[in-house]
Amino acid sequence: MTTSLETQLQRRAHDLLAEGVVELFLGYRQGSNPLRVAPFVARTPLETAKLVWNAVCVPNLAGTLAKHAGQRIGVALKACDAQSVRELLKLNQLERSRLYLIGIGCAGMADPEAITKAAPGRVTGLAEDGPDLVITTADDVVRRERGTLLLTKCATCIGMPTDFCDEWLGEVPPTPPAIPAERFAAVQALATLAPPERLAFWSEHLSRCTLCYACQTVCPLCFCKECALTLERDHPRRQAREPMTIFAYHLMRAYHLADRCTGCDECSRVCPEDIPLNLICRKLEQDRSQV
């Protein structure tokens, strides 16, 4: 039997800490239920036993990594997280010589919402079996092909050159020769609308925005200590949720991220109002790919 990625990762993290190559190792630990993982920093070789690697390692670790900038830290990265790390390096938010990057072959991460839809009820277990995911709920066991449960972004994953990382675990994903066109299908559709219809589309979505700024907080590339766009909690314009205030926030957020957003989709994942922020991110990426 081949060793699971999780075991391989735990071993490598253990050794790196034991040999003193790194002071910290960043990965995931199990969260409050089988569909949740949380970023976790192991400080001793013993603690690496808590590291997990499974089909729902969704959160982007790049932001957490940046919070530990300055320390010698190892980290487990899937390709999309590595993209964010590369961008942070470019912007001098991290020092390459202080990082030890372990790239992990990623078969696509499953969307916890899709899993709950496929297997209603309280999920008590999640296992990988070849190309399938086996979901155990309180009163059922459901088997689904992993490919049908993935996050939107994984369908058009753009990978990451393997030589970016110090080492790779698992299968090296083939990097698509060009960005797949479907990646921009939704923005393309939006672009064909007349401007007033586009404005109506966004007005409707953005009218739900509560200005909670979760999208800004989670973004690994939003690292300013003080954001010029966010308003204090008791600011009258924030409390009134003025449509134009919301509009200006999203317009400027897009502008500030224009050169750096890597399309990790963390913003739309955390938005409690399900606003399709990833469309904005794809638009930025599309514009960059065209210059």
């Binding site: 609308l193 586009r198 007005s203 409707e204 134009m244 509009f247 999203h250 317009l251 400027m252 904005i280």
Partner: protein
């Protein structure tokens, strides 16, 4: 109410050329619509797109950013930066569906009083036809 709609336009004008152009228009008594509210800035390169977003947020129906002609910037390259920034910014305005006519970047020299007046008149006309900037929320 049957009063015709009068758009509010915020003009962010660089001190050395566009603002001087507006001044020339005034001195030579060229008429132009009073819809423009002028803010003088030292250079078009000083204009952060956030100023424009904030202007819209606080009730502007249109925003005009104007500076020296390419090559004439008092600080040599401020207007080149402005051009690059606002090209990107205008793309995003369009992506969100904001009518392109609500935002204009123009180059006006200190002697082009009449041209400045014509520019403002034209923009005011366009915005009158477009109506107020509102985000309708169903």
């Amino acid at each position: 109410m049957s009063e015709p709609f009068e758009p509010k336009i915020v003009g962010l004008l660089c001190s050395w050329c566009a603002y001087a152009g507006a001044d020339t228009a005034g001195v030579s008594r060229v008429q132009y619509p009073p819809n423009l509210r002028i803010v003088r800035v030292m250079c078009s390169g000083r204009v952060d797109p956030l100023f424009v977003a904030r202007a819209f947020e606080h009730g502007a129906d249109g925003v005009l950013v104007a500076g020296c002609h390419p090559g004439d910037c008092h600080y040599l390259s401020g207007n080149n930066y402005a051009e690059e920034r606002f090209a990107k910014f205008a793309q995003l305005l369009d992506f969100f569906g904001l009518d392109q006519r609500r935002f204009k970047l123009a180059w006006v020299s200190g002697s082009e009083g009449a041209r400045f007046a014509a520019l403002v008149a034209e923009m005011t006309e366009e915005l009158r036809a477009l109506g107020p900037l509102e985000l309708k929320v169903q």
